[in-house]
């Protein structure tokens, strides 16, 4: 079950993502060339003193659905109007990139959310399990302010360890609690309208609309195993017909389909006013196409219903979005009985009437169609960090028209995204995982990915580890099926490092902490100068705590969660082994080099494409490579 099921709560408000920006440029990781100039505010580094905080602001429950009935006021249900709040006894969650070369899977860590009645009662409190955003696209058509982030994306996860308060008098909450195993909840957030101009009120803030529904063990946490609507894209961020990816959930027994338009419809500016795409209709194709559709006749489709995004004036449209988070529930029990008989085996389409085709349209343009053959495979979690000799198990799900499918998945060649192109030749290693897997009758398989004990061999020199991407295909799916380009696994495999039993500041610790001091001045200017021995040893206790907390804890250090277990253990060992003066060992500063480095010591030189120093890099490059393989086709 998921947020697309019922009962469902919808919320809307704002969010803050106070990300730090110096780490957007991979070359800033090079301690040898870093200068304090790089810590200054600029267009590329528009929030150099970011804290990493991710939090919700003024998020209110704006609507809900119970037994097919829309709820939109506190009279309908007392949950409407309550507040979706941040933690009340610990710090805010953190927003974290995987790596400067894979910034397209930023994940929220350590966030706790709670439903508050605003008068001191908390109806539920749960931990948001770390999740990376997905379905990124250029949703906002025009900048509302200088340097607006016009890309939008979704975060889908679960609230775990949920503590419920039961005497709330809300039938909606009671039903949600009853439908949720152990009280856990599925939550989806659509994020858009993010501001990057320091002079505007929306600086580091954006808008969020989302939904909360029931969750059960065995369900994926980060996607809905429903009907996957996959548009063709004219370039990496722009769908060919203006509408991006979305998911529908068909409940055949209830004759109901729930379609999530929350992230797929283009908006004009940051505030979420919809671009007018004309009438949008969800339909079932009466045929069984295995290729792309352009226009279809009215006779060849069965219309399920119309998307309400255009009803009324601009205010009413925004109210629709706030109240529903863009989810439309269509009841087809009273429609053409053909639908009920065939919806489970025919593709869904999003249509708009062809201009001039009459008041009762005779033909429609297809804006988005379901994955060819209804086939889809996804990894639940799409981001992993791997220590040398560590194995992770990615849960894979295969579906056909939203139903579990026993099939074969073939895994793509891995991308070492940042090889060194100049001597010395470096062994970038490789990850071990099967070339193919069969899913079981439940449509599931575990993809076990193992990082070799030798690690990737420090191919990137001044930055730890190597990035990999693993994609997959279903041989059962027709060739040239449009794909969701975000549907792949990103991995960061750490270098193997030999750490001394008795580490010291100069040789072992300072090079690591210097990098954090350079990249995150909010910490080093205002709390602890991580580049300075005296400052660090004056804060041994708090550093010991922060470095030893689990990654899931919002106070975990480093905030960026990009330190290998071996290095973190070495730092803790150093903090806990004081010398005779009671302070962690200082060691000796390296003598200034008198001779040029020999070849064996030469620093690897990163072969950087110009795009790669501009942040959003790895995926663009992978997409470029994909396009090249396709002979230039998108």
């Amino acid at each position: 079950m998921s947020y697309l099921d019922q009962p469902r709560l919808n919320f809307s408000g704002m969010f803050q993502a106070d990300v730090s920006t110096i780490n957007n440029d991979v070359t800033n990781y090079d301690n040898a060339t870093f200068t304090p100039e790089k810590q200054k505010l600029s267009k590329d580094s528009w929030n150099p003193e970011g804290t990493g905080n991710f939090r919700l602001i003024d998020c209110q429950i704006t609507g809900g659905v119970l037994d097919g009935k829309l709820l939109s006021s506190a009279q309908d249900d007392p949950a409407i109007g309550m507040l979706l709040e941040n933690a009340r006894e610990r710090v805010y969650g953190k927003l974290v990139d995987l790596d400067p070369q894979q910034q397209m899977v930023s994940a929220i860590w350590g966030m706790q959310l709670r439903l508050s009645d605003g008068a001191g009662a908390n109806l539920f409190v749960g931990d948001y399990e770390p999740a990376a955003f997905i379905n990124l696209w250029k949703r906002q058509q025009h900048e509302s302010a200088f340097h607006d982030q016009t890309l939008a994306a979704i975060y889908q996860s679960v609230l775990s360890q949920v503590a419920w308060k039961c005497d709330h008098g809300s039938p909606l909450l009671a039903a949600l609690h009853a439908a949720s195993e152990q009280g856990w909840l599925s939550i989806n957030m659509n994020l858009y309208g993010y501001g990057r101009d320091p002079s505007i009120p929306r600086y580091t803030l954006g808008y969020v609309a989302g939904s909360i529904g029931p969750w059960r063990q065995g369900s994926p946490k980060h996607f809905v195993p429903g009907r996957q609507m996959i548009p063709a894209f004219s370039n990496v961020m722009t769908p060919a017909h203006g509408v991006s990816f979305f998911t529908c959930l068909v409940q055949e027994q209830r004759r109901r389909i729930s379609a999530d338009f929350g992230n797929c419809l283009p908006i004009e500016g940051a505030d979420g006013g919809f671009q007018n795409l004309g009438r949008l209709l969800l339909a079932v194709d009466r045929g069984n196409p295995d290729g792309p559709l352009d226009t279809v006749s009215a006779a060849s489709v069965a219309i399920l219903g119309e998307v309400g995004y255009q009803n009324g004036n601009a205010r009413a449209q925004q109210d629709w979005y706030a109240r529903t988070a863009g989810i439309e529930d269509f009841d087809y029990s009273q429609l053409d009985p053909w639908i009920a008989q065939n919806i489970g085996s025919r593709p869904l389409l999003l249509l708009t009437p062809v201009a001039g085709s009459g008041e009762v349209p005779s033909s429609y343009q297809v804006l988005v169609q379901e994955s060819f053959g209804g086939l889809y495979a996804r990894a639940d979690s799409i981001v992993y960090r791997l220590n040398p000799d560590e194995t992770v198990a990615a849960e894979m799900y295969a579906t056909r028209y939203g139903q579990p499918l026993a099939t074969t998945l073939v895994f793509g060649t891995q991308l070492g995204l940042m090889p060194s192109s100049q001597p010395p030749t470096i062994n970038t290693g490789k990850l071990d995982y099967p070339e193919q897997l069969n899913t079981d009758a439940g449509g599931r398989a575990q993809l076990r990915i193992h990082a070799p004990a030798a690690g990737p061999g420090n191919p990137r020199g001044y930055i730890d580890g190597q990035l990999y991407g693993i994609g997959w295909q279903m041989p059962a799916q027709p060739k040239d099926s449009p794909q969701n380009i975000w549907n792949f696994i990103s991995l960061l495999a750490y270098d193997r490092v030999a750490t001394p039993a008795v580490p010291a500041w100069y040789p072992d610790i300072q090079p690591i902490l210097q990098q954090y001091a350079n990249l995150y001045p909010i910490m080093s200017r205002h709390l602890i100068d991580l580049a300075d021995y005296d400052s660090v040893v004056a804060h041994v206790r708090i550093l010991d705590l922060a470095f030893s907390l689990p990654q899931s804890d919002p106070n975990h250090m480093p905030v960026t969660r990009d330190l290998s277990d071996a290095k973190r253990a070495m730092i803790l060992r150093w903090l806990r082994q004081p010398g005779t003066d009671g302070k962690p060992l200082k060691g000796k500063a390296a003598a200034p080099r008198t001779a040029p480095p020999n070849e064996a010591e030469a620093r690897p030189v990163l072969a950087l494409d110009p795009l790669q120093t501009a942040g959003k890099t790895a995926v663009f490059m992978a997409y470029q490579a994909y396009q090249a393989r396709q002979g230039g086709k998108p």
Binding site: Q16, E49, T51, R55, I57, E85, N86, A87, R88, E89, R90, V91, Y92, S116, A119, G120, S199, P201, Y203, L205, I522, M523, R525, H526, L527, R541, I542, L545, A546, L549, P554, N555
Partner: protein, 343 residues
């Protein structure tokens, strides 16, 4: 001389049972907390990289106020009480009087940027000893008022009088002593009258020094004299005829202070502005800290680490706050506000 109304001391002296000390100890917790917001704000107003020595001095004092708050809480827990930390009224109204009318009817404390005047007029008043070591000037005590020191001495005397019987051994696991956040000879479990008296000595000594010395320990000056150094701009040294602020300079760069609007309140700002958003965030985190501390001192001492995390987070959040103009183009910046908020 910092004073509090004699009634508060009298209430301690008239106590007949442990329960009669719950109120005075809760007052002590609130008093120790109430000094932290003004000290915190003064430090936060100092520009990073400038006035580091002053910031370090005030920050160290603030840490000791936190220790004192812990000690008072542990004593209350030890005799069967429950510290109340995230409640309306726990946070004083700034500007306004401190708990127990500390300093007399005319003494108000606000939330302001650092200045040497603030140190002299407010911080040194708060910390003024029972019997200051003469450093150039003398103070007088008005008869209807007593000192904070006298209040704590009365508490000690009453605890000794009531004896070890008022201490509940079962409270031991609920006391907050773990984590090595403070030296074990300063923060320790309160198991009876002896340890309670010893703990209160630390509060008094760190704040005021002793009647014969401005030092709380051989190398560490009591708060009053450290503030005195900051105000005078020189370290305290012993001279032929006593003590004088005539030692090494403690420089102050008055360009190194953010121009904070004093006593900001969230209601003064327009929702949706950067000033409002950041102040609201700060207030929320401050209340999260009070919530975490309340839980910590009411049966879940392991939550102290989360509270410490919030303290660091507050310092970080104050960085952006104090650099935010109260309105676009204004020469004044937003100062922290410590408002109670039910969450």
């Amino acid at each position: 001389m910092i004073r509090l109304h004699r009634n508060y001391v009298r209430a301690v002296r008239q106590a007949r049972a442990a329960q009669d000390l719950f109120g005075p100890l809760q007052n002590a917790i609130e008093l120790e907390h109430s000094t932290i917001p003004p000290y915190f704000t003064a430090t936060a107003s100092l520009v990073a990289g400038k006035n580091e020595a002053i910031a370090g001095l005030i920050r160290a004092i603030t840490m000791q106020e936190m220790l004192h708050m812990c000690i008072a809480s542990n004593i209350l827990i030890a005799i069967g009480g429950q510290p109340q930390i995230n409640r309306p009224g726990f946070v004083p109204e700034y500007p306004g009087p401190l708990p127990m009318h500390i300093g007399g009817p005319d003494f108000t404390v606000g939330i302001e940027a650092f200045s040497r005047d603030l140190v002299k007029q407010v911080f040194m008043q708060i910390e003024e000893p029972e019997q200051p070591i003469p450093v150039h000037e003398k103070a007088e005590i008005e008869p209807e008022y007593e000192t904070i020191g006298a209040f704590y001495r009365a508490l000690q005397a009453k605890i000794v009088e009531l004896g070890d019987g008022i201490f509940e051994p079962s409270s031991l696991p609920n006391q907050v002593v773990q984590g090595n956040w403070f030296p074990p000879d300063q923060l320790f479990a309160i198991t009876g009258a002896d340890s309670a008296v010893r703990a209160i000595d630390i509060i008094v000594l760190q704040g005021e020094g002793s009647s014969s010395s401005p030092y709380e320990s051989p190398d560490v000056l009591a708060h009053f004299y450290r503030f005195g150094e900051i105000h005078a701009g020189r370290a305290l040294v012993k001279t032929a005829d006593g003590y004088a602020y005539a030692g090494a300079p403690i420089p102050f760069d008055d360009n190194g202070v953010y121009p904070l609007r004093p006593n900001c309140k969230l209601a003064q700002f327009t929702p949706g502005t950067q000033a409002h958003t950041r102040l609201a965030q700060f207030i929320y985190s401050y209340n999260s800290l009070l919530n975490a501390l309340h839980t910590c001192f009411n049966g879940q001492p392991g939550r102290l680490d989360a509270a410490i995390g919030l303290m660091y987070s507050l310092r970080i959040e104050a960085v952006a706050l104090v650099q935010t103009p109260v309105a676009p183009g204004s020469a004044q910046n937003v100062g922290p506000s410590f408002e109670y908020m039910q969450t």
